[in-house]
Symmetry: C2
Subunit: 252 residues, 2 copies
């Protein structure tokens, strides 16, 4: 396979009907654009889900932090650049940069991905794939944003409600879409809050997958001015409860 | 302003993270692509929301019918063609065609739009806009799919649950996104149903707008094999209840 540049760059735009009432692209749509960019980048380079599914492997998003100085507005064109800045046996680190059409940096993101065997659901050795050729795409350019902090939700976090998940929450991987948690998380704040405050930074650590029909329960604790920790747990129809995501949101 | 072709054609693709568990584009994403195509088409031709907002007018979607023979699958490129096939004083009719990259017709849609004054929320005279120049873009090519039938939900329709709307349901127009009703509507059927049945046709008549924080209540009645009528009403926080949408869904 021909070598491509280590960094991939993909063009997007903010369609008006992916924008909120303030003509600002929804964070969830931006997040999905990032996942799609990661998918395009890895598939073009031969280590994406297209190839992996032939050997019953897949990538699983473990951690995601997004930090935005400015969100794209309706009709804005923007690009997402993405590269793998660290590749270990069981994890890769992938960075993102979001730039306006004129090149201005709008924000950045960093993410950690595990490779799993889709039959055993256990971690798989990334270097065992095609003799570890993925290492040719290592681009050790660090992210400009801080790594995820360890988030521990305090015991006195308030109950912030729950939602039942449905067909539309489940993506191509067969479980609740990683970014749907972002939508549901930001829905904890009313429109009037979002009218006054933009998300400056958000972090999510994915602890366990949830499935369509599970209930997602939210607990939340304000930790500073404009800053919250949020825990999401899933409850299955049979009553099993497990921690699902640990999140941190900082609003301007 | 330079005349453009009466029909506009826009390129889309089905990003993997806009696809369901069966690698099929969500109907809601296709619907949003159609709304975006309508928006691009009308803005490029000088009668879109860009111009209308300068004179405190906007388009409001009144009716939408989508009929799909085949939905785009993950990574498929497709085009949406759209044109105005009828223009009356208070309504325009707009058609859509969805075609695969090789030109195969995947499906079609038809829609009816009213123009309103955003201050009075009353219908506005479409021909009063720029001396009725919109008529230059009339392309009287009829849709290949049947018009919307008048849907009347029978009194014995079953209660199909309700959901609370949030920040993520509200679009750039400041009310519940027209296509979010499609997502919520299709969520009435479990993933296992969607695994076996594709939506062949769906119709929505928009009766009244709902706002973020309203509860949407669903009532449903099966009227034939694979065919349902669904009524959606909104309940405001103060307890006001009003009919919101009348829908019909036909599954394969």
């Amino acid at each position: 396979m021909e070598m491509l540049p280590k960094t991939g760059e993909y063009a997007f735009m903010a369609p008006p009907f992916h924008c909120d009432q303030h003509e600002t692209l929804f964070m969830g749509h931006l997040g999905n654009d990032m996942l799609n960019a990661a998918d395009f980048h890895s598939n073009e380079r031969g280590f994406g889900t297209h190839y992996l599914q032939t050997i019953h492997h897949t990538w699983v998003l473990a951690r995601l932090a997004i930090e935005m100085e400015r969100m794209p507005k309706a009709y804005d064109k923007f690009t997402i650049r993405t590269w793998a800045d660290d590749i270990k046996r069981y994890f890769t680190s992938r960075n993102f940069e979001v730039r306006a059409e004129d090149g201005t940096l709008l924000g950045a993101a960093r993410s950690t991905w595990a490779m799993i065997d889709t039959e055993t659901r256990k971690p798989a050795d990334i270097f065992a794939i095609n003799d570890g050729f993925i290492i040719n795409y290592l681009e050790p350019v660090p992210s400009t944003i801080a790594p995820l902090a360890r988030v521990k939700l305090p015991a006195d976090a308030e109950d912030a409600g729950s939602i039942l998940t449905h067909y539309s929450d489940v993506d191509i991987n067969g479980h609740i879409n990683s970014i749907k948690y972002v939508d549901h998380l930001l829905d904890l704040w009313p429109a009037a809050w979002h009218a006054q405050h933009a998300v400056r930074r958000m972090e999510i650590s994915y602890v366990a997958e949830a499935h369509g029909g599970d209930t997602l329960a939210f607990r939340r604790k304000q930790t500073a001015d404009g800053e919250w920790l949020v825990g999401i747990s899933r409850r299955t129809a049979s009553g099993d409860e497990a921690e699902c995501c640990r999140c941190k949101v900082i609003f301007d």
